[in-house]
């Protein structure tokens, strides 16, 4: 028995890409690449290191796509995960990004599964430095340009904090937003601090 359970906005995606490819009708052209890596409806997929997109703020989503495209993210040769994402974003046109955001932005917020078991109490103390930008509940703050952290994959948050610390992210020319994180990440002195603060973020907004 086949039952229809919902119409998908992915029809919109038919418009993405150059017309040369559209003519190659032997391959299906409607672009679902995001879900191949980021999982169905953007739930995230640890096995391919692609974080949850479901429920991401559209302003942040759009900025990251633009940052990857511009090489502000995903160009450091040690940033292996960022390089994977940049391959996707590099050739996107403004119109494609608009379409993608209109599609991906509809995915419902689903907090990612918890995989860390650090000391959330210790992390709470560390988090006080973050709240001014990311919000007390890690709900994000558009005015500060700081995204929500609550509900994001814990392993991904940890990768990013490492990336900021090692300057794989935040040091590229023109990275106005990422550069703000360099100092903040340097306050997390070791892996344990990162694990603890991420474990605390895991307790917020769920």
């Amino acid at each position: 028995m086949i039952k229809v359970v919902g119409l998908s906005v992915s029809l919109l995606m038919a418009t993405i890409g150059s017309s040369a490819f559209a003519q190659a009708n032997s391959e299906y052209y409607n672009d679902h690449y995001c879900t191949t890596c980021h999982g169905v409806d953007g739930i995230g997929n640890e096995e391919v290191s692609a974080p949850r997109l479901a429920g991401m703020e559209v302003w942040y989503l759009q900025r990251q796509l633009e940052s990857f495209r511009a090489g502000i993210r995903g160009t450091h040769k040690m940033d292996l995960q960022g390089i994977e994402m940049r391959a996707m974003a590099e050739d996107l046109s403004d119109a494609s990004i608009k379409d993608i955001v209109a599609w991906v932005g509809t995915w419902e917020f689903k907090p990612a599964p918890i995989t860390f078991a650090g000391d959330a109490e210790a992390g709470k103390a560390l988090y006080t430095a973050c709240a001014s930008c990311h919000g007390a509940q890690a709900q994000g703050n558009e005015a500060m340009g700081a995204p929500a952290l609550a509900g994001q994959n814990d392993w991904y948050l940890a990768t990013q904090l490492h990336n900021f610390k090692k300057a794989y992210r935040g040091r590229q020319p023109g990275d106005r937003f990422g550069s703000q994180m360099i100092v903040m990440a340097s306050m997390l002195v070791d892996d344990t601090a990162i694990e603890n603060i991420v474990s605390y973020i895991n307790t917020l907004g769920r």
């Binding site: 086949i2 119409l7 992915s10 299906y28 169905v40 996707m88």
Partner: protein
Amino acid sequence: MSNSVSRREFMHLLGSTFGAGALVHMGAALSLMPNTATAASLSFAAPSPGKEKVLVLGAGISGLTVAWELTKAGYDCTVLEASNRAGGRVMTVRSGDVVDEIGNRQVCEWDDEPHMYFNAGAARIPSTHRNLLAYCKELGVELEMFINESKTAYVQDDAMMGGQRIRNGEMSTNVRGFLAELFAKSYTNAQLDEPFSDSESEKILGLISQFGDLNENMLYKGSYRAGYVSGGFLDHGVQKDMIAFKKLMQSQMLRLSFTANEGETGPMLMQPVGGMDGVIKGFTRALGEKVIYKAPVMGLTLKEGGVEVSYERDGVRQSIDADFCFNCIPSHLMSGIPNNFPSEYLQAMKYIRRGEAYKSAFQAKQRFWEDDDIYGGISWINAPIQQIWYPPHGIHKDKGIVLAAYNFGGGMHFTRMTQEQRVEAALAQGEKLHPNYREMVEKPITIAWHRMNHMLGCSGRWGNNGGDWSMETQSFFNRLQQATPGGRHYFIGDQMSYHGAWQESAIASAHWALADMDQRVRAQA
């Protein structure tokens, strides 16, 4: 004491001559060919009434195998495939095809002729892959020989002889000559566990001499087997000079002269006429409408007595119930699809690592290799492209498709490059094997399996490397191979075999799951 060489010392000598690991490789080469059972003659019980609905997730060759076998047994099968094509890692690229690499989509613009194709994934069928060969026969897939080893193809290494290319046959003949001389010298005094009689010794020395083409003094001074510099038919042939072993041993490629064409990648292999996807088309012809394309699976729920799967088709999400489900979606993609697998399953799925294979190909404006006495086989180079393959099909036609790079293990080197960088690397390295390469080839196609849509990897890796199975690995494998509790869902594909990266392995996994299911069905009947 005499200068006798014990077996252990000899193995030592070999080891130090060929570098650490050479012996392991030689040993591994022998066990590379797993003993495939006789082509399974399968017969499955007819479905129990009301329990005939089967869903296959992914039209990889393992999924198609299940669908075909269960269709024959009377089940009602549906295959859901995310891509526009069946076959997964069995992919043949021809004129007009799109290569769906994420961030590097390409359209193939080669001449539209039957022999102008490239097997971007699976390309070779060993004669011991009985189950795959049996399906080729059953489904009317015409096969022809694939030539893996050609003595006239080249070997090149910047570290050897100033980077000069030599023929494969020069490498192997000179190495054999050296080894034979060494054997002969050590034989007379060798302390063997079992002494040989004089006449036996004579035979052995004769064999050694023959093996290396030694002269009457049991010395190696070069051999016609390495090829002629000139003449041979109406003039006396001028033999090529011998190459001192010391020169050859500078190359990392040395071990290839012993291992590259052993076991499953023997000199003689097979391929379907017109492209490896002939096998897939054999299945899809037989299955007809049962395969639904562009239908990515979006969710999977194990239920009491069955499985519910949701998928998308033309932008509409639908769901479908089945009594049994066989799943060849790569495990690292399945973990991005909502499911209610038991936690020990999810844990086992996490354990498998993604492979990284990379291949590329060019259209050759002329079959320049044929002018160079090469008709098939592989040239080897100690550079990231590693290999150039010459098509054994389409002999003497105007053009052909050459494989321009094949990097199975460390494919990320090319994966992380732009298309332009990949092409330039292939040209610059290929030029070392064929000085006119750059002028001769055009229209590149590159395939980084790690970035291919709906695949994002090559064969799943269980151990750290090939044979390295810990107890932990084994227990994860066993867990994932079993049906989910209740016996309604099976993982299949070469990811569920001990021998990834072969179609035979994918088929074997399907047969294992089918046999298990059949046993359950019979027990309940």
